[in-house]
Symmetry: D2
Subunit: 395 residues, 4 copies
């Protein structure tokens, strides 16, 4: 039986794709070697530099974000190299597993999944690494499984304070274009991202931003690689082309997304997400529930992970909510499976969509018999009313 109205896709990515982007993706494919393609390619490559805030290198892959993780590793590492990773949550763990699988030695600083990476522990570990075995420090910027944000600039400072030459590699698959990220200013060396989060696209494109230093390191790295090889990209990219067939239609959408982000203004985008995150946490508190991220100032503007009351299944709650209110919420992953649900408030999103989302959660909690106080929706609305977004002029 058909359900009326729009589905609310409030997982922490893919985010709902705006009509402008869907329409762009639906345009006819063109010759990726023809003269008209150059404009498409250059706009995408240069546009992504403006999003990463870098004047160094950006590479675009037809792949999921997982592919860009692999690209970051195989371009910079040689078999047996060691990397230091920080366990912010499920995705940090997956990246760690991937590195191991590819034959890289990893050291995984244990975390409690309730905050971002800890720069002081990274610094301490690097100071111990006197023979500089560690080739890269890998952290997740916005940990999609927990809703916590790592202080990337502080991680760079920690590496520098330790006087260690390790690269700084950052996964900002779910953070980019939703929360502040500054590749050059923060001294990041390799960055990994994907299309289906803040960029508001369907999945299928992934990105590396790469520093000159990492490009140099890639020249000496001996991991076997072909599809992901940065150096094969550089030449064709200069004129807007790619070494193999690019994902033309998703690039159409990407160019639209880049325009939309600049039309709104990146700082407005970031402020919008932060404000929606705060309103969501106000709702969670009013419901008498607990936000998974326990470190103040590290709560994500992209998503909010919420702990279920003991004895209640998050997945049963999500199923009820989907069935009765046509809203998809994110599930808890591995360690927190069935114990948390995640509310995505990223992408092309506004106050009323947030109110719809939180109403779905509040009605779902009631429908599923989860103990809670009512009033979360009201609390979020008060927050929004009391904290109007100050908009700055777009770029």
């Amino acid at each position: 039986m058909r359900q009326a109205g729009r589905h609310f896709l409030q997982i922490p990515g893919p985010s709902a794709v705006p009509d402008r982007i869907l329409s762009a993706i639906g345009r006819q494919t063109i010759d990726h070697r023809g003269p008209d393609f150059a404009e498409v390619g250059l706009k995408a490559l240069n546009g992504m530099k403006s999003i990463f805030k870098t004047e160094q290198h950006v590479f675009i892959y037809p792949s999921s974000g997982t592919g860009a993780w692999e690209a970051a590793l195989v371009n910079t590492m040689s078999p047996g190299d060691k990397v230091l990773m920080f366990e912010t949550g499920h995705f940090a763990t997956l990246w760690n597993k991937m590195a191991t699988k590819l034959g890289i030695r990893t050291e995984f600083l244990e975390g409690d999944w309730r905050g971002g990476a800890e720069p002081d522990r990274i610094e301490a570990r690097l100071r111990e690494d006197t023979n500089q075995e560690i080739k890269a420090v890998c952290v997740v910027h916005n940990e999609t499984s927990t809703g916590s944000v790592s202080p990337i600039a502080d991680v760079r400072r920690a590496i520098d304070a330790a006087g260690h030459p390790a690269l700084l590699m950052v996964d900002t698959i779910s953070g980019l274009a939703s929360i502040d990220f500054r590749f050059d200013e923060w001294g990041v060396d390799v960055c990994v991202s994907g299309s289906q989060k803040g960029l508001m696209l369907p999945p299928g494109l992934s990105f590396n931003a790469v520093s000159e230093r990492a490009m140099k390191m890639a020249e000496r790295a001996t991991m076997p690689r072909s599809y992901w090889d940065w150096h094969d990209m550089v030449g064709p990219n200069e004129t807007g082309y790619f070494p193999y067939t690019p994902g033309t239609n998703l690039l159409y959408g990407l160019n639209e997304a880049i325009d939309m982000l600049h039309e709104e203004g990146l700082d407005n985008v970031f402020a919008r997400h932060a404000r929606h995150g705060a309103a969501t946490r106000a709702a969670v508190r009013a419901w008498g529930l607990e936000v998974l991220c326990a470190r103040q100032g590290q709560e994500s503007g992209v998503l909010t992970a919420v702990l279920m009351p003991r004895g209640h299944s998050a997945d049963a709650f999500r199923a009820t909510t989907l069935q009765h209110y046509d809203i998809s919420l994110g599930n808890g992953l591995s360690k927190v499976a069935d114990k948390v649900f995640r509310i995505g408030h990223l992408g092309d999103f506004n106050d009323l969509m947030l109110m719809a989302t939180l109403s779905g959660v509040e009605m779902g909690l009631a429908k599923a018999g989860v103990p809670h106080e009512s009033g979360g929706v009201q609390a979020a609305m008060e927050h929004l009313k009391d904290n109007p977004q100050a908009r700055v002029a777009a770029e």
Copy 2:
């Protein structure tokens, strides 16, 4: 500066067009005289019979709903004929003006804009019309300017009770496919509707449903007519064609809409609208505001018109709400201009969209400095939680 997220189009029509229908409308136009068109035309014509609940005649015009008003009049009337109309609100008034303009004499039973047409007054007037000058009784089913519903079956009973031969002509432009309507069972003779309300299409198609009796009357009616002439339509329609170029792409959309309505089940569609109307009224009461429709049982499931507190401008409120919360609300028309705003809850709409809508109203009231109690959103949510929609099997 770009606003993020979806616009909420909560005027009482056009309603937001679902993606399935937009996609259908975007298909390539075909030869409207070719063999493939027959299927398109027959599906639309027969489908609309299922929506009107009639086995008599349905005609489809490429025009706005206003055109179908004119069609109803020029097909059945001769210059100087008299019709009896009921002033339910702005749209009844406009139809009345049109009739006058076309050279038809009208008698307009005065109403207070706070309820539907009154069968007893109609009956009384018809009893006085002993020489049967009145050729038709014209009432608006769902008065879009006030949010009141006329009891159509009772109007038919009133005409019959008076033993009067007048036709029953009904405007259900904004009622059809949102609230119950039964052309044959209720003994309606001519019905007027449009595409951009419950049918979830963009504007541009309009409809007449016509009884055999009205078809007969049309044979003797002498108003000049060509574009709107029913009798020119009958022949081509039999095989799915039209006497002049039809609105092919909107017909694609119409066929998709008909499918969607039957996939949900018309009774479920009606129950959904009724429930959303009730939840909206719960919100209005909680805000301490007044619903324009004052007659219990006649409140519309399509829209709710809300009276502003004295001294406050409805249009200023609507402008504020549009600017800050990206939601379009309906304005007050003529007699109630600037005194009421209208909340549309029609078309492809669900619980969370309603919650978004009411949140936009509540936050807008605060932002515009309109005196009100907070808690309307909460009250609506309680109503929705306490009154889950019982869904019946779709046709």
Copy 3:
């Protein structure tokens, strides 16, 4: 069983709708009373003035072109008024019938369907009309049933030469935006057009261009009218709005079409059509068939009507061609039913699409067993090669 590849819609309208326009039409409907609509409305109204080449009035109806015929008549005429019409073909005949049906007296100058209207015969008739009973001269600019073009400027000169005050009313439903038309310069008073031909839209919008003189005449005209009334339009149109719900989504498409026409340059558009008409006639001659239009210089750039060899059914040929080569050709209408087929070469069309079209005709002639010489495709190709289009800078 699915046929592969694109269908070729080569009837003389609707023409195949370009993707840019389909995409525009598929955008979300907005509030036609809201602030954002003004831009849509003004762009459409002013844009259509640039297409009609007028600084006087343009009106846009949600209706088929047939509606705009009716609008032209009911706004300017009073019951019993007389108009002079010229029988260029089927559509002139239909307009004549409509006028009669609406209670207007018509005089129909007989034609042979093989050329445009004849200014000298019109002048002669007007000279006879000493008491100026004739209120308007009505001619079809591009007669879609025959592929002949009437010399509109010469008709104006004929009226003036006769010193007659009759209005000049012109149907350019299929001519506008494909062949030269100059409302103001040519002294036209009322013009009728539609969306689905040179404007490259689906059917559903129609247009009147109206001179100040005709606007004046409308003030005194007493035909009953409401939907079509020009004077109700003037006020709202000034700020980009309409007196009743406009066909918003088709207006999106119209605005895209207007942009496309100016991007190409109207003179380039006209030259393109003329060249394709000439190439098509070269093909017809090579096939040993006859073009219906027998008056040199009046052959249409929009379509070419071709006479079948005696004893052969045009409709059987068209059915064969549709079945085997997935191309829709236009049928012969009324007097020439089954005797001619029509090749549409209008709208968003280029050299290779023409070659495809003519190949479909040539292969279809063979498949249907119609006597002909081969070589038409070759002849058209030679024409195109030998007569490259000189393109002028777009506006």
Copy 4:
């Protein structure tokens, strides 16, 4: 200045994407972990089995076809393993380079780029490989750079005749869904394909079909791999899910493509391509030019590569043709750069589109001053007329 009409994208892939598929791709993205996704995933995975004609394994990657080349190698090989490849043209050469780059030893049987792989030479080489160093034989099914087809079933017979255990790995990126391919019947072990050719999609999805034997070999293969790992896919694929975020919107398109292919019938699709290849070659002969593929029976139905007369630049010709006739033709690659141009006649294509394409070539040859006979278009048309496609009932 805008060019009117449709662009003809006649490179040998991407092929022009049909509207049905563009529309499917433009649908809203859904939760790839939610209950509704299973249907999407299962339909794609099972559908692709029906296209490959296999009951073994199919894997779908969000990547270009190049990625699926890499996947085929890294799943089956260990560092230092040897493969035997056949130089059919540019793409065989690129695959060879990739293998080398990944640390696989390759032996490359030299070819003249004018035909498919030669089974007898493969057999001879395998017979010499007495200690079975060669782990796989890699051939390109349809060599996109030359328009030649390799006899895959004969290659399998050659391997078997040599009694050699090497895997048979086949690149059918541009052959699949355009020319006959039978994974199971022909004994292929690993197959590589992509979305933007016979599957009529934009680029961005790639495929491996894999035999049980190759799956077993993958268990022992030690090339580092993660993104491409087949074994990670098997579990999630069983219920329609993927181990990482899939390319949801391209999967929507893929499912539409699979439906379209079966609606037409794969055998009809293959016959259509073969017939268009033959008609194209008839045109080339009539022009007095030479088809690059010199081996009778191995000419491709997907594309035809044409040798330029000595001293004439293929790229200058292609640029002229693009500028004047808005058609993109394929360029010559590496060894035959600027010496051949390639006519794509693949994907969603029909007789009239072919006639348009060949007209573009013939007019372009004249415009670019390339010596040739006219009459190619005529010859192709004669071929099509004389050889109507016998259609069999679709599956």
